[in-house]
């Protein structure tokens, strides 16, 4: 039961999805499975949330050193869920003017945006200390990166103003993006496509069970 049922389920659902793509009447079954998928997907989100709360409650309970931050996580969760569920006008909870919207704009948005903005600093220091033209490949990479970084902003055109119009750095950048870059992306894309096809096949046929938490 523990192993067989999930393997059989995966096989049935996966094959239905594939077969329905070629044999239209199977779409009826596919639609049914998709309906269930939607509901499970939402529960999966809840699972993640509940798991997070439990881990942090555990920190508090066991008085781990970072317990205060576990408390902050839980309080942060309540900070937005209580207004969002009870005091933000029900289904129109995300309209401008609701408490939920206020928290989104003034707490969630600055935090989320700033977390990602940190990366700018790390890119800068890695540029200074780690990115080296250590071999032919890395050199080509850096040269292409230079042309794009400068060509995508007016500095590039300004630096190459002595070249005739149509041959300045901005145009080089366009050309690289439209042709060699596109070609390279295509090769990567086709390779990944075949990789996805083979791993999907292994999953559906039960050869790959890593998703169930190891063999």
């Amino acid at each position: 039961m523990r192993r067989e049922v999930p393997l059989v389920l995966t096989a049935i659902v996966g094959l239905t999805m594939i077969v329905s793509h070629f044999i239209p009447p199977f779409n009826i079954l596919k639609d049914l499975f998709e309906d269930w998928f939607f509901i499970i997907a939402a529960f999966a989100i809840y699972l993640g949330v509940l798991n997070l709360l439990r881990v942090n409650a555990d920190k508090l309970y066991k008085k781990k050193p970072d317990a205060p931050f576990g408390l902050v996580v839980i309080l942060g969760f309540l900070l937005i869920t209580i207004p969002g569920l009870f005091f933000s006008g029900g289904r129109s909870f995300s309209d401008p003017g609701t408490p939920f919207y206020y928290l989104y704009i003034h707490v969630y948005y600055p935090l989320s945006a700033t977390m990602f903005a940190l990366l700018a600093f790390f890119v800068a220091s890695a540029s200074y200390r780690a990115f080296r033209a250590r071999n032919v490949e890395a050199t080509m990479l850096l040269v292409a990166a230079f042309i794009l970084m400068l060509g995508r902003v007016p500095i590039g055109d300004w630096m190459t103003a002595w070249l005739p119009e149509g041959y300045r750095l901005g145009e080089w950048a366009d050309w690289i993006m439209d042709f060699p870059q596109t070609a390279g992306q295509k090769a990567i894309m086709i390779g990944i496509a075949l990789g996805v096809v083979s791993s999907a096949l292994r999953v559906i046929l039960g050869l790959e069970r890593a998703y169930m938490g190891g063999e």
Binding site: Y46, H106, L194
Partner: protein, 219 residues
């Protein structure tokens, strides 16, 4: 109005809290980060409740129930009970003794995506890309297109050869693989440039927030 001002102050303080990590790891950063984790989990929770559970699960079951009560027949919408059941199994992962049951719902998710991806990747990222690479290498009277086509065809072809593992990279085959690597490197260079661009944009957004919205230094 004053609510807005308070809000911007809160936002600015939290922004500085995250940035303080750049100096070094510290409790102010840890607080902001923990708050972020909690608030974002809460955000998902609320949105999923209002825009998901209510309209898709509860409403559908309510509809099925109403049809049963009013017209006395069993409606298609009852299938949502099974979906809901599988969903609840998912939550059982939280309890170690019955956690294995969550594999049933997981199997459902994995099977659906694997089945859909199988055909979608093969077609959109495989066949259609291959079709798009079938271009004439010489286009009369149009040098730009001719060069462009040659670059696309040669680049894609050689790039694929590099990812071909059944043959040793020697001779002409090795040469093609070598050209393939160059194309890959130019592609990575482009990605590099664009990633730097992306990261800088994000920082510009935050700086502008601090100087315009908070300090009003920029009009």
């Amino acid at each position: 109005m004053s609510g807005e001002v308070v809000g911007v102050w809160i936002g600015a303080i939290l922004t500085l809290g995250i940035f303080s990590f750049l100096y070094k790891d510290n409790p102010f950063y840890k607080f902001s980060e923990a708050l972020f984790v909690g608030v974002s989990a809460g955000y998902w929770f609320v949105v999923t409740f209002w825009q998901y559970f209510l309209p898709k699960l509860i409403d559908n079951l309510a509809l099925a129930y109403t049809v049963l009560a009013v017209e006395g027949r069993i409606d298609y919408h009852w299938v949502y009970i099974l979906g809901g059941g599988l969903g609840i199994l998912m939550l059982l992962r939280l309890f170690p003794s019955v956690g294995w049951l969550s594999r049933w719902s997981l199997a459902f998710i994995v099977g659906t995506t694997a089945g859909l991806q199988f055909t979608r990747y093969l077609e959109s990222n495989g066949i259609i890309q291959v079709k798009g690479t079938i271009l004439p290498l010489i286009v009369g009277g149009d040098l730009n297109t001719t060069i462009g086509n040659i670059v696309i065809v040669v680049g894609t072809f050689c790039g694929l050869i590099y990812f071909f593992f059944s043959k040793e990279h020697r001779g002409a085959f090795g040469g093609a693989a070598r050209i393939g690597v160059w194309f890959l490197m130019i592609t990575f260079g482009a990605l590099f440039g664009y990633t730097v661009m992306s990261r800088m944009s994000l920082l510009i957004g935050r700086m502008d927030y601090l100087f315009s919205n908070w300090l009003h230094l920029i009009g």
